[in-house]
């Protein structure tokens, strides 16, 4: 058995997520980085909010809290303040961190607490049936926007980097890149935000004309490229800013 699997609660598998969901890949990348950097249950805490990804905490053999909707970042800040030796990760979705918890994101990035936020962005409220979230791109058809979304998506990069924090973007298809970004965030002493673009076939992909989760992953391969400019990330670029 591979070494990193010792961090998973094997008895609880398979996960309750849909077949082919990117959340499993994010967890796998995270625990592989944890294993290679000697993060174990003595020095690591995981906090998650509400949503599909919020279930992550239940599958890991670590001290973990499944908090209220949107309140993952304040709880993580409290843990870090009480015991600065701990490594604190927040794993949550775009609806949780950017919509309901948007205010907490603003102030956590202002206070520069040393926590690592992994935002799994599937561009939709997946668990409740595919409603438009702040991260839904313009003109996308969803359950609540049948004529196409009127508004632009939220600019998380501007919020996080305005206070000179670490911001990275990756996708669930670029797994090695994702692992590299999580490792980079561990070296950083400020607030770190990693946006992972994920796939949600039943809620989002179906309405866009995809036929499977694999097609959505291949779309990530086509759409995204490496960053060219070191000071800004465009919408279709992968990389990090510091």
């Amino acid at each position: 058995m591979q070494g990193y699997l010792s961090l998973l609660k094997i008895k609880r598998l398979p996960t309750t997520w849909c077949p082919g969901c990117g959340n499993g890949l994010v967890i796998k990348a995270l625990i592989q980085v944890m294993e290679s950097n000697n993060l174990n249950k003595k020095n690591t805490v995981i906090v998650s909010g509400i949503g599909c990804v919020g279930r992550t905490t239940g599958y890991l053999k670590l001290d973990s809290i499944h908090t209220l909707h949107g309140r993952a970042i304040p709880v993580a800040e409290g843990i870090k303040t009480a015991n600065p030796k701990l490594n604190v990760f927040v794993v949550s979705g775009d609806g949780d961190l950017l919509a309901i918890g948007g205010n907490h994101l603003l102030h956590a990035s202002r206070r520069k607490t040393n926590i690592k936020v992994i935002c799994v962005n599937n561009r939709i409220y997946g668990m409740t049936g595919g409603q438009a979230s702040p991260a839904t791109p313009k003109k996308t058809v969803t359950t609540t926007t049948p004529k196409g979304n009127e508004f632009e998506e939220i600019n998380t990069q501007a919020i996080v980097t305005s206070n000179k924090n670490f911001f990275a973007r990756s996708t669930v298809f670029h797994l090695d890149h994702l692992k590299k970004m999580i490792k980079k965030s561990l070296e950083n002493k400020d607030f770190s935000f990693i946006e992972v673009i994920s796939n949600c076939y039943p809620g989002y992909g179906k309405k866009l004309g995809f036929t499977s989760n694999y097609e959505m992953l291949m779309d990530f391969k086509k759409k995204f490229e490496n960053q060219k400019n070191k000071s800004i990330l465009k919408k279709n670029e992968l990389g990090f800013l510091k």
């Binding site: 082919g20 890949l25 796998k28 797994l175 694999y214």
Partner: protein, 64 residues
């Protein structure tokens, strides 16, 4: 050679689509949870793409 834990498999087909040698297939039977699981055929070259992509970590690559 690969070994698939059939009780953990959910039949998402990511390994099947990723395999460069087409040596993984979907079974005609279901496991305890009611999913059609993946089964391995002959011709594996130990490239590890399937184990890398599996979201449920149920594929183990055995070097011969």
């Amino acid at each position: 050679m690969i070994e698939i834990d059939i009780e953990k498999c959910k039949g998402c087909k990511l390994c099947i689509e990723n395999c460069p040698k087409d040596c993984i297939d979907l079974s005609s039977q279901v496991n305890k949870k009611g999913y059609f699981y993946a089964v391995s055929k002959h011709g594996c070259i130990n490239c590890r793409f399937c184990a890398m992509m599996c979201p449920d970590a149920c594929i183990e690559v055995l070097r011969e």
